[in-house]
C-alpha cells in the first residue's frame, strides 16, 4: 500500500523534469532568462554593504510582522473596514473561491478582469469561475499568454518565461481572430494590449493580488509594470483583492524597504512603473474608482508554517522569485516540472503546507543544498535549512511525535531507513568503519563498473589501494 501512495509523486516529478531536460529549446529559454535576471539583479546591488544592510532590515520587518501576526491581522481588518473595504477570511482555496463567487453573483457579474495574482493561481480561481459560467480573463501580458495557451505560469514573476517569441507569435496567430503571424515583439505587445483594452471596459469585476497589506492604515499595496493592475483595480465597479494572511506589515514606513528589495531582487528594477496604494472604494466626491473593494485573506496551510518556530520563516517571503532565478535546478527544469503553483526553492518550502508533504516531498529533495537561494533571498529566509528540515519531516516515522506536518513520513521506506541505520552503525563505530573501508580498499579491483545512477553520467568510483590511515602509518613527519 505504501508504494502506491509514496512512489508516484517522485516518479511524476522525475518524468516532468526529464521532459524539460530533453527539450533543448526550453532549456535554452530558461538558461537565457536566468542569466538575464541574475545580471539585472546584480546591477541593482553594486554596494554589498548596502545590500546586506537592506536585507537585514527587510528580514527584521518580516520577522516582526510574523511575530505579531494575529494582532496585525485584527488591526488590518479594523482599518480596512473603517476605510470601506470589506474583509473576508478564507481557510482554503474553495472557501476563497466561494466568497468571490458570492460577490460576483450578487452584482450579477459575467466577466472578471484579472491583474497578476499567484494566490488566485493557488486557489484555481480561473477554472472555478469558468465552471460557474463567469469569464476570468488575465490582463498581465505574461499571464494572458499563458492563459491563451491553456498553461500555468512557469515562474511567479515572469509567467511565460518558458516561451520564445516565435511560440508566442504562433499562439497569437492561431488564437486571436484576425491576427497575422509576426515575430515583432512590439507588434505582439500591441496586439495583446488591444484585446485587453476592450476587456477592461467590459469587465464587471477586477481581481488583483496584493504585495503588502498595511495594518495601521488599512492599505493594499500593489506593484506592477504594465498599468493593468491599476486598470483592474480602478475601472470595474467592483475590485476584489486576494492575498495570503502573511503579507501584512504594521506600518506604512515598513513598505519602502520591502518594495526596494522586491523590485531590485525580482526584475532588477529600482522601482516598478506603477506602485498602487489602495485605501478604499470611490468616495462620494470622487469621479472614478470602484464602488466596492473586497479583500480575501487566505490561509490555505500558512498557519501550519506559522505554528512552527523554524518553518515560520517560510512566510517571510515577499515573492520576488530571486531564489528560482539563481537555482541551478530551476534553471535546468523550469517551473512546470515542480507541478505546484509556486516553483523553485520557495515553492519547495511553501507547497508542503498548502498541499501536504505526501504529494510534495520530492521537491524538498530537489536541491543540491548549494545555498544560492538563501544567499540571494532579500528577506534572508534560510531556505536550505528549511529544505533539510522538510527532508527530516518527509523521512520521519509517521506514527511518532516526530511527525508534525501534514504528510510527514511520506518519503520513508523500510529499505532506505534500514540502509541509513546501517550506514550510521558503520560510520559511528570506527572499528566497523576501518573494517569496511579496508575491505573496499583491498577489493578495489572488484569495484563494480556499474554503480547505478552515479555511473550513468560519470566514471566509476574506485577506492584507493591504500587509505589515508594506511598512508599515515608509513608517513614520517
Amino acid at each position: 500500500m505504501n508504494k502506491v501512495v509514496h512512489l508516484h509523486p517522485m516518479d511524476d516529478f522525475k518524468a516532468r523534469s526529464k521532459a524539460v531536460l530533453d527539450n533543448a529549446g526550453q532549456r535554452k529559454n530558461f538558461r537565457g532568462a536566468m542569466d538575464f535576471l541574475q545580471a539585472k539583479r546584480r546591477a541593482q546591488f553594486p554596494d554589498q554593504d548596502e545590500m546586506q544592510g537592506l536585507r537585514e532590515l527587510g528580514a527584521s520587518i518580516r520577522r516582526y510582522s510574523l511575530a505579531h501576526l494575529p494582532r496585525l491581522l485584527e488591526q488590518l481588518e479594523a482599518n480596512l473596514t473603517a476605510n470601506g473595504v470589506q474583509v473576508h477570511w478564507a481557510q482554503n482555496g474553495p472557501e476563497a473561491n466561494a466568497i468571490a463567487l458570492k460577490i460576483a453573483q450578487r452584482v450579477d457579474a459575467k466577466r472578471i478582469i484579472k491583474g497578476k495574482s499567484m494566490v488566485s493561481e493557488e486557489v484555481g480561481f480561473n477554472h472555478f469561475m469558468e465552471a460557474a459560467g463567469i469569464e476570468a480573463f488575465e490582463s498581465d501580458m505574461g499571464e494572458y499568454i499563458v492563459q491563451l495557451a491553456g498553461e500555468a505560469p512557469s515562474h511567479i514573476i515572469m509567467p511565460a518565461i518558458h516561451k520564445t517569441k516565435q511560440e508566442i507569435a504562433q499562439l497569437f496567430a492561431e488564437e486571436i481572430p484576425g491576427v497575422a503571424y509576426t515575430e515583432d515583439v512590439d507588434a505582439l505587445i500591441q496586439i495583446g494590449r488591444r484585446v485587453l483594452r476592450r476587456k477592461f471596459a467590459e469587465a464587471d469585476i477586477g481581481l488583483s493580488g496584493v504585495n503588502f497589506t498595511v495594518a495601521e492604515t488599512g492599505t493594499l499595496c500593489l506593484v506592477e509594470n504594465e498599468g493593468n493592475g491599476r486598470m483592474c483595480t480602478t475601472v470595474p465597479k467592483v475590485h476584489i483583492a486576494i492575498t495570503g494572511i502573511e503579507k501584512v506589515v504594521e506600518k506604512l514606513e515598513h513598505v519602502p524597504p520591502l518594495l526596494s528589495l522586491l523590485t531590485r531582487s525580482a526584475t532588477g528594477q529600482a522601482v516598478t512603473t506603477y506602485v498602487n496604494m489602495i485605501s478604499g472604494p470611490r468616495r462620494p466626491d470622487e469621479k472614478d474608482g470602484p464602488q466596492e473593494v473586497h479583500l480575501i485573506l487566505l490561509d490555505n496551510g500558512r498557519t501550519q508554517a506559522y505554528a512552527d518556530d523554524e518553518l515560520r520563516a517560510t512566510l517571510q517571503c515577499i515573492r520576488c522569485g530571486a531564489c528560482m532565478n539563481h537555482c541551478p535546478v530551476y534553471a535546468r527544469i523550469g517551473g512546470h516540472a515542480y507541478g505546484t503553483t509556486y516553483p523553485g526553492p520557495i515553492g519547495s518550502i511553501i507547497s508542503p503546507h498548502m498541499l501536504g508533504l505526501d504529494t510534495t516531498f520530492p521537491l524538498a529533495f530537489a536541491s543540491t543544498l548549494c545555498g544560492a537561494c538563501s544567499e540571494v533571498c532579500p528577506v534572508k529566509i534560510p531556505i536550505t535549512d528549511i529544505l533539510v528540515r522538510l527532508r527530516n519531516e518527509a523521512q520521519a516515522r509517521p506514527e511518532t511525535e516526530e511527525a508534525t506536518l501534514r504528510g510527514s513520513g511520506a518519503a520513508r521506506t523500510l529499505a532506505a531507513s534500514t540502509a541509513w541505520g546501517m550506514w550510521a552503525q558503520v560510520y559511528s563505530k570506527s572499528g566497523l568503519y576501518k573494517l569496511a573501508s579496508w575491505f573496499m580498499s583491498r577489493g578495489r579491483a572488484l569495484s563494480p563498473s556499474e554503480q547505478g545512477a552515479w555511473t550513468r553520467s560519470r566514471t566509476p568510483l574506485v577506492p584507493a589501494s591504500k587509505r589515508l590511515r594506511d598512508l599515515m602509518k608509513d608517513h614520517k613527519s
Binding site: 529533495f365 538563501s374 550510521a424 552515479w454 560519470r458
Partner: protein, 267 residues
C-alpha cells in the same frame, strides 16, 4: 557575514599543533590529498595529529532527512578532538557541516551543544587556514600551466572561504587561473542528490564541465573532493563515450596541487 550568519572570524597566530579531519572521501578515494595536506602543514613547522578513529562528518545522513543517524556519526567525531588545537579540514563541505550544522544537531543537549560550539569554533577549511593562519608563501617551481578553480558551494556560502583558494593559486607565479562562466554555480553533485535525481545532476555537471573546458584550462583544481569526483568523473565519462584516451579535464585537490607546485614533486 555569509548567508549562514557567520561573521568574519578572527584568526589565531600559527599554532604548534593542529588536528586533521581528513573526511571519508579523502580517506577512501583520494588519500594523497590528505597526505599532501599533512605535508603542507608540517612544512610550516606544525605538528599534525590525525585521530585514527575519525570516519565521516555525518553530512550524507544530515542532507537526506536522517538527523538521528547524522547525530550518531557526528557524536563519534565530537569526542576526538580533545586538545584545544585548530581542526583543519581539506573540504569546505565537511568543514561547513561541522562548523554550521553540528551546533544545531546537538541543540537539545546543553553539554553536547557546548562541545559542538567549541569544536565549530576551531574548524578551519584548509585554504582558509593556509592563508589566514600560516601565511602560505612558497616558490612555484612547476611548469607554466593554465588551470581552472572550482570552489564548492559550501566552501563559498557556508564557510565563506572562496577567496582563499583563489589567493593560494594566485600566489603561484607560473599558474594561470582562468575564470569559467557562472563560476559560483553548483556543479550538480549535492551528495545523495546526484543519486536521487541523476538526470538533473547530470545536466548541471555537464554544463559545469563545458564552462571549465571553454576556458582552455588543462585541469580543474578544487579544495573539495565531492565536486572533483563529480566534475572530473563526468568529463571522463564523456571522454569514454567519445573514444578519447587521455582525460580531457583531470581534477586535482588543491592540497596536492599546492604541494606538487612548491615541492618539485619530491616526497
Amino acid at each position: 557575514m555569509n548567508s549562514y550568519g557567520l561573521t568574519d572570524r578572527s584568526y589565531p597566530s600559527k599554532p604548534t599543533d593542529v588536528y586533521l579531519f581528513a573526511t571519508c572521501l579523502i580517506d577512501q578515494f583520494t588519500p594523497q590529498a590528505g597526505l599532501d595536506t599533512v605535508k603542507l602543514l608540517e612544512r610550516e613547522g606544525i605538528r599534525v595529529h590525525y585521530p585514527e578513529q575519525q570516519t565521516c562528518c555525518g553530512q550524507p545522513a544530515h542532507s537526506s532527512g536522517y538527523p538521528d543517524e547524522a547525530r550518531s556519526v557526528a557524536l563519534a567525531q565530537l569526542n576526538l578532538f580533545i586538545e584545544p588545537w585548530p581542526v583543519v579540514v581539506p573540504s569546505g563541505s565537511c568543514g561547513g557541516m561541522m562548523r554550521t550544522h553540528y551546533p544545531h544537531l546537538f541543540a537539545d543537549d546543553p553539554e553536547l551543544h557546548a562541545k559542538a560550539m567549541a569544536l565549530a569554533d576551531r574548524i578551519y577549511e584548509l585554504s582558509e587556514f593556509l592563508v589566514h593562519v600560516v601565511n602560505f608563501n612558497h616558490e612555484d617551481i612547476g611548469e607554466a600551466c593554465t588551470i581552472a578553480l572550482h570552489t564548492s558551494c559550501h566552501a563559498r556560502r557556508q564557510m565563506g572561504v572562496h577567496e582563499t583558494s583563489a589567493a593560494l593559486l594566485d600566489s603561484l607565479d607560473k599558474v594561470q587561473v582562468k575564470e569559467q562562466a557562472r563560476i559560483e554555480e553548483c556543479c550538480g553533485f549535492g551528495g545523495t542528490f546526484a543519486l536521487l535525481y541523476p538526470d538533473i545532476s547530470e545536466a548541471i555537471a555537464t554544463d559545469k564541465v563545458a564552462s571549465i573546458k571553454n576556458t582552455g584550462a588543462s585541469c580543474v583544481v578544487s579544495a573539495d573532493c565531492g565536486c572533483l569526483l563529480n566534475i572530473s568523473g563526468r568529463s571522463a565519462k564523456q571522454d569514454e563515450l567519445s573514444g578519447c584516451k587521455q582525460p580531457s579535464l583531470p581534477g586535482e585537490h588543491l592540497a596536492s596541487f599546492l604541494w606538487r607546485r612548491t615541492n618539485g614533486g619530491a616526497a
